[in-house]
């Protein structure tokens, strides 16, 4: 690709040193075990507080406010990384999914005449309040071009069709297109491959869901994300065939063993939660490579993804504890940790 930006490794010396030190504080298997074994939700929460979750001033009055703690923790991670990284573009790329989610919320609230409530996901690369204002005034010049075009398309399409599902379709697709365009602008194999994997895994998930719902190719074609490494033809040819055929078709790609391992649970339960867990593990084992990179942006991204997984695991445990889910089931749902 022309004009790819190169990431200067030497600019990351300080950042990597800091990350290596902070990485030691990631929750490891023993800590998660302690959370899972906790007798009460409060006890599990205590492990998080001990690990320094949240920031000074985060007040958690009852265990039901654990989400506030997780939200603050996630904000803290992005603030730290944005402070450490010489450029913000790559780090913010991982916030795009939040931005697009927030845009969906704002648009749907407007079209249905409701208030948005508390369903925004923060942090975003664009602050929610700002995004709200820009969409309200229909003045989105400051947004990245892909996002701006997508939101305009949503407004136009909704006004013509009145179908709110199209908002999801347009924005979800735009989000990945946006990520691909940012990752493609950098000459860095790690980032390129990571984003490509995210797109591929999403496409596989879309395919499996559409298949579950007996959707037609017409529908599937509209939602698959272009630009992934799996040929769209593979999806087309296997939509009406047994699932085994699809697994066979991508057996020799890097997702072969992932699919082979998930098919059993899909066939048994009809649910994709097993596949989702294994996809997360796939990404974790990919970013684990970053631990052997001495200088560069990779350790930062590794830490970011590790932290995202950690917060996800913390949420799984807290929800499980509050709802009296058995320890075995919680453990089955936990994602592999980075450390």
């Amino acid at each position: 690709m022309p004009n790819q930006k190169k990431i200067k490794e030497s600019e990351f010396n300080y950042a990597v040193a800091r990350i290596r030190a902070i990485e030691k504080g990631l929750l490891d298997k023993t800590k998660f075990d302690r959370m899972v074994e906790a007798k009460t939700p409060d006890e599990a929460l205590k492990v998080l507080l001990e690990a320094g979750y949240g920031r000074t001033g985060t007040e958690v009055k009852s265990v039901f406010e654990y989400e506030k703690l997780l939200k603050d923790e996630s904000k803290k991670v992005y603030e730290l990384l944005n402070e450490l990284a010489p450029g913000q573009e790559v780090i913010n790329m991982f916030l795009l999914s939040n931005d697009y989610h927030n845009a969906k919320v704002i648009l749907k609230a407007e079209f249905s005449g409701q208030t948005e409530g508390s369903i925004f996901i923060e942090p975003g690369s664009v602050p929610v309040e700002k995004l709200k204002l820009m969409i309200k005034d229909r003045n989105m010049k400051e947004l990245p071009e892909i996002m701006q075009k997508a939101i305009e398309e949503c407004i136009d399409t909704y006004n013509r069709t009145g179908d709110p599902q199209l908002i999801d379709l347009i924005l979800d697709k735009a989000q990945y297109r946006h990520m691909l365009s940012i990752s493609g602008s950098f000459c860095n194999k790690f980032i390129n491959e990571l984003v490509l994997s995210l797109v591929d895994l999403t496409n596989i998930k879309i395919f499996l869901r559409a298949k579950n719902l007996n959707k037609t190719w017409d529908f599937l074609q509209k939602i698959l994300i272009p630009g992934g490494s799996i040929d769209i033809k593979v999806f087309f040819e296997n939509l009406d065939a047994p699932l085994e055929n699809f697994v066979q078709a991508i057996k020799y790609s890097r997702y072969g063993s992932l699919l082979e391992n998930s098919i059993e649970s899909i066939n048994r339960t009809g649910s994709l939660s097993g596949f989702e867990k294994l996809s997360d593990n796939f990404i974790t084992s990919f970013v684990k490579k970053a631990r052997y990179v001495t200088f560069g942006i990779e350790p930062l991204i590794g830490y970011l993804m590790a932290k995202e997984t950690e917060i996800k695991n913390a949420r799984i445990i807290m929800v499980g504890k509050i709802n009296n889910i058995s320890n075995d089931i919680i453990r089955e749902r936990l994602r592999e940790a980075y450390v």
Partner: protein, 106 residues
């Protein structure tokens, strides 16, 4: 237009939002009581409440049992059913037709 409200612990009731009901997550029975009284004064025709909370605020629920609105209906939460909802149905059937025509065999 009348609305449908759902009261209970967050993880049990959030799904109702997807089908257009108004959900009110609560964590204590005091909170549940307050919300219930508030909703009863507003335009709610039906209020679902999880049995876990319903069992602690029976007196508040009974207050509304002779009113036309709202109909307060206990539903099982994610911890399984306590049988309160079914008991209520049974009681109401008995009151309406004079005999238990639904569950006599049990």
């Amino acid at each position: 237009m009348y609305k449908i409200g759902v009261i209970g612990d967050k993880d049990s009731i959030l799904g109702f939002k997807a089908i257009g009901m108004s959900v009110f997550p609560v964590t204590t029975s005091n909170e549940a009581e307050e919300i219930l009284d508030k909703l009863a004064r507003e335009e709610y025709a039906v209020i679902y409440i999880t049995e876990q909370f319903a069992k602690d605020i029976v007196s508040t629920i009974d207050k509304y049992s002779d009113d036309r609105f709202p109909a307060i209906i206990p539903i099982p939460g994610n911890q399984g059913s306590l049988g309160i909802g079914m008991m209520g149905v049974k009681k109401n059937v008995e009151r309406a037709v004079g005999a238990d025509i639904l569950f006599r065999d049990e």
